[in-house]
Symmetry: C2
Subunit: 245 residues, 2 copies
DNA sequence: CGAGACATTGAGTAGGTTCAAAGACCGTGG
DNA sequence: CCACGGTCTTTGAACCTACTCAATGTCTCG
């Protein structure tokens, strides 16, 4: 597994909060201007390249972080190497444990990633001081739980084709949501899949060969088209949703 | 699906908090005596029989509840009837949505169940007034998220035999934990599976026939023995853990 | 241009499903 | 108390989806 470069780590420079997805849709949305100014003080920025390990299963978590940009793959690995991706974290999501406990997951950057990291004790203090923040964290955790359970349905009960369709649909929906492209509900969506075929397989509980074949299937049915190896166009979300179960 | 009897509903009578699992290990553990006295006031008790629907997908949740006794099956159903159980809730667990949003799950009693129910607004006020309580709720939600992700590994990557072994292991561990049977780590455990074969299948992403066959397998390997149709004895947890992956 | 990683495609196989039938258990009522 | 009906469970045989193994193709980056 790629550990190509050491994760960079530099401090400050966060006048960027204004345009940040975490501020607009995520955790920091629960903060007033003053509180935001305060959380900036304890935050520091880290950047990663595709393939970098951000967290290593069972090791002490060094921080709690919000994702500023990029995509992070969260996974668990069985003793014999079988792997299951348990989450794909994008822009306004959070990463790591709140209370400093070791996180039982591996987290790997699948694109260039920028994190906004908070040291545990300082962040815990923020949580205690600002109930809105803790409330927001609770809500986000509940949403994550819902997604995890949706994925359980996918893994337990859906066919290979439905799984691939579901993944593309999920990403398309997310994209539409954070971009606020609320044009007519059913216009074409172009989306980038930041994952290799192998990783898609580990996310969907399939082998990569099966993923290939099912992508071809969906193309032949005109439910999607490939504009690049990892870029797809979805002509109709509702048609895709049909195929996703 | 069984809707055999109307759920009963009576009020008060909660001097039972002292011996309650929710008090000892769950939410109420975060409260002082005084605060407990207060939460009692807003609580009311509901009882259900096996097969009763407690929550119906997408309907407004009538309450937030802690489980006093019994087992509740949480599931999602696909348009064509395929079902996936996404959680099995036992004694100190909680049920329903905190903020009154509709819960996207079906909840069904699989044994006799007693719930301790809190109306939304009153409970939300408790949460706002007692940060410890909210903290506890957050921690429990994180634990649930971890379990859900463990289940994703099971559904995505484990064989039928490993799945059945994992389920029994999980229940045995839970049982040992709440009963505080900390005798030598590896003594025999007797456990009741409150689920029919069909429900086990829906939990493990298998058909009930496969569940049957795998139970037989495990018996033949002496990893478990059946003492009743739904009661099993696990001679060695560590041996079972081996088989569970 | 070549090497390596990633993706695609094909053929054969296996684990789990489906379909079918028989057996065990439980509560009910004669 | 036993017989009956329904539900749940067990077992068998055929089938199918997704996996495995293997070869070929394509992209990227030095």
């Amino acid at each position: 597994m790629g550990r190509r470069s050491m994760p960079g780590c530099d401090t400050t420079d966060l006048g960027r909060c204004e345009s940040c997805a975490v501020r607009r849709f995520g955790l920091c949305n629960a903060l007033t201007r003053d509180e935001l100014r305060q959380i900036r003080q304890i935050a520091n920025r880290r950047v990663y390249k595709p393939g970098d390990q951000i967290l290593i299963g069972e090791e002490e978590t060094p921080f709690f972080a919000a994702i500023y940009s990029g995509a992070v793959k969260l996974s668990k690995i069985l003793f014999d190497g079988r792997q299951q991706v348990v989450g794909l974290l994008l822009a306004p999501d959070c990463l790591g444990r709140v209370f400093g406990k070791p996180s039982p997951y591996f987290a790997e950057a699948t694109t260039d990633v920028e994190l906004c990291c908070f040291p545990h004790t300082a962040f815990q203090k923020m949580l205690d001081d600002y109930p809105e923040l803790k409330q927001r964290l609770l809500e986000q955790t509940i949403d994550e739980l819902d997604s995890a359970r949706d994925w359980m349905v996918l893994l337990g009960r859906k066919s290979a084709e439905e799984r691939v369709a579901s993944l593309l649909l999920m990403l398309a929906m997310r994209l539409r949501h954070t971009r606020y492209d609320a044009r007519g509900t059913d216009c074409p969506v172009v989306l980038d899949l930041y994952l290799k075929r192998h990783e898609i397989g580990d996310y969907l509980g399939l082998t990569y060969e099966t993923v290939c074949r099912q992508i071809r299937n969906l193309c032949e049915k005109n439910l999607i088209s490939q504009s690049g190896r990892r870029q797809f166009t979805v002509p109709s979300l509702s048609a895709l949703a049909q195929a996703a179960g």
